[in-house]
């Protein structure tokens, strides 16, 4: 299995390097990858379109063609980063709560790098003020939102959300205030609500002084009736700004009010925005004291609103919010180790199948964790495999990828498998997984003392990763592996030797343990109580059994399912088949005409022939 997974991933990687376009971030799971293809490329085109206009305004008149090309690639690259980033921010935050500080700083750095890269290329053009650029970006997103509403197409909204992370660096209260002032009339309650959170309540008085205002003033009447989507989008930007500034208290206040507002609205085009708002809402609450592990943590207070949101979302068939809120609730319950509640939530609520890839990955991760705690390793294993495969491949989402892989390795060990060595060799995992590598080595050589040593040495790490209790359960697996190895290498061994080799307390224990191993099917052997030895049975030829056939069948099934999934994930433009029908019709008509002509021609020929004959 792991080999299969790896090859999937490595395929992706090679794709990323070879393709210049930025769609790869999502393609490690089949479905959304294909879904996102269209918007990304289109976004790239859009960017490219906007870049030349900027240049024109500045009056730069260098060789048009070449420059155009450059800005094209530049644009698509930055969207690519944007895509990755936005997935990651969430992913990272979700997966590794304790290391949030370091995580976000890492992410910032990542953003820095990409932003700088983009700017370096841009310096060949006249300098663009980041503030005006940010404002422009936000405004261009408004049109996208409007289009989303007009066409009832969530793809535009998703594209807007994806651009958030690239914009994140440039968000300042001034930028936001300016946008708000230009979008709303001074009397608007939404505007004052947003401005209050930014601490820019007097923005309207200050605004007319700026000269940009006049240019835009003729636009104002059009924008007067702002869409609820635009409101939500700006509110999310405010949330992000507050979060980045660590103004948690303010954020809590603002988010609570925002959620109240969004709850009153019932618009399907608002769904993905609402989901995002809930995400930051819960993130804010996780930051305020008392912190999660305590059962009286602040997060427990938002369970009620979140459950209400879940109910509403289900009734409205609002898949985005439903998925987001469910993962948030699970995270919430698990953070205070209310595992049975989380389990109940899962058993009573089906997770929407159409949820976005990241939400599914997150859900699978939590599900895997819960099942692992409940000793349902097989189920946990399949969920965790799904989570690791669906986790975004971009470097900033490493937190999630690592966390799910750690859990996966432990579950594999608990199932009696030894994880593939190559899992630990991936550059994204190598360092983080080091303790787990040692652990699996100890289990695979059945070194009980070494195993206990490792558990003691790294107990802090394991506790932080939340795998400690699972690892404690591994002790019996170490013993089982030991017994299996002995049964393979000796045809007959005394219980005394088994006891010594495994470091057990007594021969009696050894006898019981071996008996249990035989019953559980770990080894094929018999015990002789009177003489105190274990006698191994002849190991049959595995290729004489049905096992290889079954494994083969399993793989074929997986491949077929993969194929089906990819077909399902393809995007079929609406009414495309009619076009095809039409062209088919045309082709048929043309053919008919052709046939007619030929017929006529034939006639001519025949006539001619006839003539000829006649002659």
């Amino acid at each position: 299995m792991p080999a299969e997974r790896r090859s999937l991933r490595s395929n992706n990687k090679s794709d990323t390097s070879s393709s210049a376009n930025g769609e790869k971030a999502n393609s490690n799971s089949q479905s959304p990858g294909a879904k996102d293809k269209a918007p990304t490329t289109r976004a790239a085109a859009n960017k490219a379109k906007s870049a030349p206009t900027k240049k024109d305004a500045k009056g730069a008149s260098n060789g048009n063609m070449g420059d155009d090309d450059k800005s094209h690639t530049n644009g698509s690259k930055s969207t690519e980063n944007g895509v990755n980033g936005s997935e990651d921010v969430e992913m990272g935050d979700t997966a590794v709560p304790p290391t949030k500080g370091s995580k976000s700083s890492g992410k910032d750095k990542e953003d820095d790098v990409t932003m700088e890269g983009a700017e370096d290329v841009e310096t060949t053009e006249p300098e663009v003020d980041p503030t005006t650029k940010a404002i422009q970006d936000i405004k261009s997103n408004f049109t996208l939102l409007e289009r989303a509403v007009a066409h009832f197409d969530p793809r535009f909204t998703l594209r807007v959300l994806r651009s958030i992370s690239s914009m994140r660096k440039h968000l300042t209260p001034e930028v936001l205030a300016e946008v708000i002032v230009e979008t709303y009339s001074a009397s608007s309650s939404t505007a004052s609500f947003l401005l209050e959170a930014l601490g820019q309540t007097n923005a309207f008085e200050n605004a007319p002084a700026s000269s940009d205002m006049e240019v835009d003033s003729d636009k104002n009447p059009i924008a007067q009736e702002t869409l609820a989507e635009v409101d939500a989008y700006l509110a999310i930007l405010v949330q992000i700004y507050l979060f980045d500034q660590r103004e948690i208290q303010k954020g809590v206040q603002f988010s609570t009010n925002l959620i109240e507002r969004l709850r009153a609205l019932n618009r399907r085009t608002l769904d993905s925005l609402t989901a995002r708002a809930y995400f930051y809402y819960s993130l804010f609450f996780e930051q305020i004291a008392p912190l999660p592990p305590s059962p009286a943590a602040a997060v427990t207070t938002i369970r009620q609103p979140l459950l209400a949101a879940l109910r509403t979302a289900v009734l409205r068939k609002d898949v985005d919010t439903q998925a987001t809120v469910m993962t948030l609730l699970l995270r919430n319950y698990l953070s205070t180790s209310h595992i049975s509640q989380a389990d109940l939530l899962i058993s009573h609520n089906p997770f929407p199948v159409a949820a976005s890839n990241n939400q599914i990955a997150r859900y699978l991760f939590y599900l895997g964790r819960i099942r692992a705690i409940q000793l349902q390793y097989t189920e946990a294993h399949s969920h965790l495999i799904g989570a690791t495969r669906k986790s975004p491949a971009s470097p900033v989402a490493r937190g999630f990828y690592q966390a799910s892989n750690k859990l996966l390795v432990v579950v594999e060990l608990l199932m009696g498998d030894i994880p593939d060595r190559a899992v630990f060799r991936q550059p994204a995992l190598e360092r983080a997984m080091h303790p787990y590598l040692l652990l699996s080595q100890a289990v695979s050589v059945a070194d009980l003392d070494g195993f206990l040593n490792i558990v003691n040495t790294y107990s802090e790490t394991f506790r932080k990763d939340g795998t400690y209790t699972l690892i404690l359960r591994l002790r019996q697996n170490v013993i089982k592996t030991g017994i299996r190895m002995m049964s393979l290498s000796y045809s007959r061994i005394s219980l005394r030797d088994i006891c010594l080799r495994l470091g057990l307390d007594s021969e009696e224990s050894a006898e019981y343990i071996v008996a249990k191993a035989i019953r559980d099917g770990v080894i094929e052997a018999t015990l002789d109580h009177e003489h105190g030895f274990m006698k191994s049975k002849e190991v049959g030829d595995i290729y004489a059994t049905r096992e290889p056939g079954e494994a083969f069948h399993e793989r074929i099934r997986a491949c077929l399912a993969l194929h089906d999934e990819s077909v399902k994930a393809m995007r079929f433009p609406m009414n495309q088949h009619r076009l095809e029908l039409k062209s088919a019709q045309e082709a048929r008509e043309r053919e008919r005409e052709l046939a007619k002509e030929i017929q006529e021609g034939d006639m001519d020929d025949e006539d001619a022939g006839g003539d000829f004959d006649a002659i």
Partner: protein, 281 residues
């Protein structure tokens, strides 16, 4: 409040004297009193003394039910106690100011230990680990481990030995003085029954045959007569002072049928692949 206090002390006495009828009656009366004061579930507005009293009532109820071997009732009390223990968990965390509540009388570890043991004796290991996970996490935050608590350590060790297969250790644990209190002893018989069945199951697979005298030791039975009795229950064959375990009718007869079944599935699979391939092409 004061009559509740007297009710609690009466209850204490009744349980000490093992007058469970009286205790049950007192319990329902005190629970009613708690309900009247709206204190069955602690809220932030409940006065601390009342919270303590409510917890005591429920704890005594739990103990009374376990002594009457009423598992269902005990589970219910345990669930009802959870909100109270959540308060305690919260207060026990480092960095929390000392709360007004008095936890010195709390029997949390004992009740939790008993609950764990109950789950273990019922073979509900999924729930066992779910509860344990929470405890371990809490202990980690305090910088200790769960095993610092004798009442928790006992079921945890038992579980570990059971899973590992060291049944002799389980046997010794249940017999020895290591049982933390007499309430824990109530489960010993159940546990011994469990391990005996486990051992019997293992022996069937592991040994071709076994002398009766050895089986007596293995199964922790008192006498050879008991062994014979037990063997009859499991359907083992006794001959010449040895136990012969019934061998499953395997080998030839089964393998033939196996092949038939296998070929069926192989054909089915192959047809499936063909169909799928057709749809793809």
């Amino acid at each position: 409040m004061s009559d509740l206090q007297s009710l609690v002390s009466e209850l204490h006495g009744a349980i000490e004297r093992k007058q469970f009828d009286v205790a049950n009656d007192l319990l329902s009366r005190s629970k009613r009193a708690l309900l009247m004061q709206n204190a069955l579930i602690p809220t932030s507005s409940t006065p601390p003394q009342l919270v303590v009293l409510a917890r005591q009532v429920l704890e005594l109820g739990a103990l009374a039910s376990i002594r009457q071997t009423d598992a269902q009732l005990f589970t219910r009390y345990y669930q009802q106690l959870q909100p109270f223990y959540d308060l305690e968990r919260h207060a026990g965390l480092p960095g929390q100011g000392s709360s007004k509540l008095d936890f010195s009388t709390s029997q949390r570890s004992k009740i939790t230990g008993l609950y764990l043991l109950l789950l273990l004796s019922m073979g509900d290991s999924a729930n066992f680990h779910t509860v344990l996970e929470g405890l371990v996490e809490e202990a980690c935050l305090k910088g200790g481990s769960v095993e610092d608590d004798a009442c928790i350590k006992y079921p945890v060790e038992l579980e570990r030995n059971l899973m590992e297969g060291s049944y002799d250790k389980v046997w010794r644990e249940t017999k020895s003085e290591r049982v933390p209190s007499e309430d824990f002893g109530l489960f010993s018989n159940v546990l011994i029954g469990t391990i005996r069945n486990e051992i019997a199951g293992c022996s069937e697979k592991a040994y071709p045959s076994l002398p009766i005298s050895n089986a007596k030791n293995l199964l922790f039975l008192e006498s050879e007569g008991a062994v014979i009795e037990f063997a009859k229950q499991r359907g083992w064959i006794l001959r010449d002072g040895r136990i012969y375990f019934p061998v499953e009718p395997e080998a030839t007869a089964r393998s033939e049928r196996d092949i038939l079944v296998a070929s069926g599935t192989v054909i089915e699979n192959a047809l499936g692949y063909a169909r799928e391939l057709e749809t793809i092409v």
